[in-house]
Symmetry: C2
Subunit: 260 residues, 2 copies
Amino acid sequence: MKKAPVLDSYLAEFPREAPVTAQESVARTLRRLILNGALPGGSVLRQEELSKKLGVSRMPLREALLKLEGEGLVETQPRRGVVVTMLSAQDFEEILEMRYSLESLAIEGAAKRFTAEDTLAALEIVERAQAEIQLSAAPDLDREFESRWGDLNWEFHRRLYRPANKPRLLSTIENLHQLFARHLRVRIATSPGEDNPAFGLREEQIAKNIREWQEVLAEHREMVMACDRHDAPAAQAVLKRHISDHGAELMRRLREAAQP
Amino acid sequence: MKKAPVLDSYLAEFPREAPVTAQESVARTLRRLILNGALPGGSVLRQEELSKKLGVSRMPLREALLKLEGEGLVETQPRRGVVVTMLSAQDFEEILEMRYSLESLAIEGAAKRFTAEDTLAALEIVERAQAEIQLSAAPDLDREFESRWGDLNWEFHRRLYRPANKPRLLSTIENLHQLFARHLRVRIATSPGEDNPAFGLREEQIAKNIREWQEVLAEHREMVMACDRHDAPAAQAVLKRHISDHGAELMRRLREAAQP
DNA sequence: ATTTTGTATATTGGATCCAATATATAATCG
DNA sequence: CGATTATATATTGGATCCAATATACAAAAT
């Protein structure tokens, strides 16, 4: 009979895709809703209502909620209900510390094995983000843009750490990024078009945001170049700065948002 | 009306205990079964069968399995079944690295705030483990003992890191410990009473194990004392040694176990 | 009037039932 | 006789139904 070695190598690269169960699809939907702020922290999730809106029965919904609980996105109080997790400033500090600690490990591993291909791929993602900024700056800084920016940000980090070849580490980091991403939204505390006295005029806000994003991208490029040179300590140094700047800024905004 | 300030402070310390749902109880049972090796890696878990044996319907079982999946103890392939996770040597290296990285963070935070009370409590756990060794060395090194030893080991680490006051960090570390604990079992690759040529005579094995455990306890004491002196770098140094020794020994045994 | 107690409603956890899919087995064809 | 297709069985994912519990509300008592 005919052999199909090509098929084997293909399957090795693209293993059979898992069937999409309702449970998974619901989990993904809810995850996204929580991450982009449509379901803010503190929301109580009624099973009956949600299952109707999502067009599934309550069971796959419950299973999805359990998954999200494992990811720390929701909290369950038996017999009482499920609530979207609310993170305190202290939770944030913890998450930031863990991020630095683990990403430092990841980037160290990655830097050692970085290839030219990795460099190109990582930079390509940075350029996509750059283009995204140009496009989205003028019209509106809406929820959609935040979401795309968050995705690109994580896509970059994942690609950067990939050469380390540490899948468990990577997924742990992804989880932390996820928890974090929800609160990037605080950046845009005003709805588009409005001038919020706490943050200044709309034009100023936009200009400031763009400046910050450019800075983030610059740091991303630095990290790529350090990895390209296989200079792990340098990469870690930039990363440390990256995360702590990021974190400091976030904390500042959290405090600002909490005051008025 | 009467006030009850005593009640308040009591509740603050012992918040209302969550109702025990079948789901939780099943999850706990399965977790323990996996951790102590009754369900070794690679076991396929049939829902019908398990639910009958556990005396619940399939639904709470499925929900329990989802929780365990979140903890990395089992893996689900939709429509095909649930399998107890099998960890490769590489997974182990990763987990070890993450443990060191995160526990280092935890012990640093703890060392800064360590009080005399913490010192006493931590040492008390060490002494309990010491007693456990004395008791269990002679009769039989069975699964039960392994399990108790594992519990005490984690209890110690948790108590040690508690002053850091970083609950998220702690639970992440707990998860890693858990994944790890399953493979501590490799220490006792022979059933009690048997002489396994790969490891030498039974008496030798016992003596060796005891020596190792004593070493572990000695390191635990060192860590406590370093924390007591608020000497974070020293504590981290001992921890690093602790984890890497631990890890090196485990890897050696894994290789040994894999060879014959 | 305030607090307590009883009752009704809402909502969750769990059990049973059904449908979709995978695996194992038998039949058919070259 | 080996390989392939068709069929039967097993097992999972999902829907509906029921019971246990929590919350909301009303009535009663101090």
